[in-house]
């Protein structure tokens, strides 16, 4: 387990914790009922999208800025990170999310807290429908992430952070009406823990994870396949140390950071 002795590994873990803390703090905070009347969907969608865009910009080059267990799962399915790293990322994300929600809870006046922007199904939406919606929301999101992070693209890519952030905004613009737009098990988990309300909570895990996995398979194996052998994939999953025998260390086991081409 060479990764555990690597400073950049622990820096990446901390970055994921920190980024998810911020994401939940800002996203849920903007979703609270500050004024009477219906929630401004555009405003909340932009808050989540810009939060993620800012965090991708801030820690994308350190940890890949997944900020989302479903995204980490997608990278795992795509054999782009080791099992150990994926596990540590997800643990950091869940802890960071709960920490962010706890900080938000403590700084928010009691009259405004409500259910802390807990994800709930809209009246009339069945769990089957909700799960399908969550799958689609996360599917488009993961496709966008994989395409944007793809180091094989050489064209002028524009801003990685904004592309990813606006993809999330898109999901919220649609999903908020159906499910409150989870798209991120950590985001859904955090207010559920603090309010101890887990009604239909499984929808926000099953949907995003299936969506993330599908997105990964679609992109990496069908739309723009990576030509890696099974043994190469297995060595990445095991976290094999990058070989120094070659002139350039291979990507195997390297931190899953933004490696898109510079403009």
């Amino acid at each position: 387990m060479w990764e555990l002795r690597s400073a950049s590994f622990w820096r990446a873990i901390f970055a994921e914790f920190f980024a998810t803390l911020f994401y939940v703090f800002f996203g849920l905070g903007a979703s609270l009922r500050w004024a009477p009347g219906p929630l401004h969907v555009l405003q909340v969608a932009l808050a989540f999208g810009l939060a993620l865009a800012t965090l991708v910009q801030t820690v994308g080059h350190i940890s890949g800025a997944h900020v989302n267990p479903a995204v980490t799962f997608a990278f795992l399915v795509g054999s782009q990170m080791s099992l150990l790293r994926a596990f540590c990322y997800i643990a950091a994300q869940l802890l960071g999310a709960v920490a962010g929600a706890a900080v938000l809870y403590s700084v928010t006046p009691p009259a405004v807290r409500g259910n802390l922007a807990l994800n709930t199904l809209h009246a009339g939406v069945s769990v089957g429908q909700a799960t399908t919606v969550e799958i689609f929301l996360t599917l488009q999101f993961v496709l966008c992430i994989f395409a944007t992070y793809d180091e094989r693209r050489n064209g002028r890519m524009g801003s990685v952070a904004l592309a990813v952030g606006f993809s999330l905004t898109l999901g919220h613009l649609f999903g908020m009406y159906y499910t409150g737009a989870g798209m991120n098990p950590a985001r859904s988990f955090a207010p559920a823990i603090l309010t101890r309300n887990f009604s239909n909570h499984w929808v926000y895990w099953v949907g995003p994870i299936i969506g993330g996995g599908l997105g990964s398979l679609l992109y990496d194996f069908l739309l723009f396949p990576r030509l890696k052998s099974v043994s190469e994939r297995l060595s990445i999953l095991k976290g094999a140390r990058p070989s120094d025998s070659n002139g350039q260390p291979e990507g195997t086991g390297e931190p899953v950071e933004l490696k898109t081409q510079a403009l």
């Binding site: 500050w34 800012t54 910009q57």
Partner: protein
């Protein structure tokens, strides 16, 4: 003190004054309560964010476009600017902000001025809660600025100006509910001076400054530490004249694709 004899330094300070004047003018202006159509939170947040984004794009290459004393302090903590430069920048920012607010005050109809969008605690938030929120608002902005302008990065930065501007928008989308959203002591000082309302004013200095320092320490010493020696850091803080000759500086400046200050000091960040 070679900096004081440098034209580029004077231009940079003037740029900070002008940028902060424009930022406060447009930002506070967008937040005024016009009777015909009061602006929504989203509208105000986008206005502040686009204001910063535009000014970073316009003046980032001249002065680093800090536009914010908290950001200048963060750059100082990260050893990116000298003490002298930091002091002049902060002074220019505060003066520019007050000038912007004064101009806005004069051109706005009396019944619309109100309190000129002065920062204050909202929704029964306590001072402690407000400071904590301001700390988080500014921390994420500072982190985004350092990441967006880090010359060591070789991956795709996209548009630093847009990223930084949207980071400001993000802060406002949450912060407006708590405090009217400062993130910037100059922005808070300006309407306070013009209207004479200084209630809880300390919140808008302590929160942003602490958040900026923590953000700077996190990025520069923990998340993405640089390998500069202590001697090199001290040289930057003292504003020692760079050893490289003018021609080499010129070449380096032309080669840089990123926003950066004209002189070959380590680059200040944008805000």
């Amino acid at each position: 003190m070679w900096e004081l004899r440098s034209i580029a330094f004077s231009r940079a300070v003037l740029a900070e004054f002008l940028a902060t004047l424009l930022f406060v003018f447009f930002g506070l202006g967008s937040a005024l309560q016009w009777a015909s159509s009061p602006p929504s939170v989203l509208q105000i947040a986008v206005a502040f964010g686009l204001g910063i984004g535009t000014l970073v794009q316009a003046l980032g290459h001249v002065s680093g476009a800090h536009i914010n004393p908290a950001v200048t302090v963060a750059c100082l903590v990260g050893c990116h600017v000298s003490f002298l430069r930091a002091a002049f920048y902060v002074a220019a920012q505060l003066l520019g902000a007050v000038a912007g607010a004064a101009i806005l005050h004069e051109i706005t109809p009396v019944e619309i001025r109100g309190d000129l969008a002065v920062n204050a605690l909202h929704n029964n938030a306590t001072a402690g809660q407000a400071v904590t929120v301001e700390l988080f608002l500014t921390m994420q902005l500072v982190l985004c600025i350092f990441a967006s302008t880090d010359e060591r990065r070789s991956d795709n930065l996209g548009s630093p100006a847009l990223s930084i501007g949207f980071s400001v928008t993000l802060g406002h989308l949450l912060g407006i509910y708590f405090t009217g959203c400062s993130m910037n002591p100059a922005r808070s000082l300006a309407p306070a001076v013009v209207t004479g309302k200084f209630d809880d004013h300390w919140v808008f200095w302590i929160g942003p400054l602490v958040g900026a320092v923590i953000g700077s320490l996190l990025y520069n010493y923990l998340l993405f530490p640089s390998t500069k020696s202590l001697q090199e850091r001290l040289a930057v803080l003292k504003g020692l004249e760079p050893d490289t000759d003018w021609e080499e500086r010129e070449v380096r400046r032309r080669q840089s694709v990123e926003l950066h200050s004209p002189q070959s000091l380590p680059r200040g960040s944008k805000a």
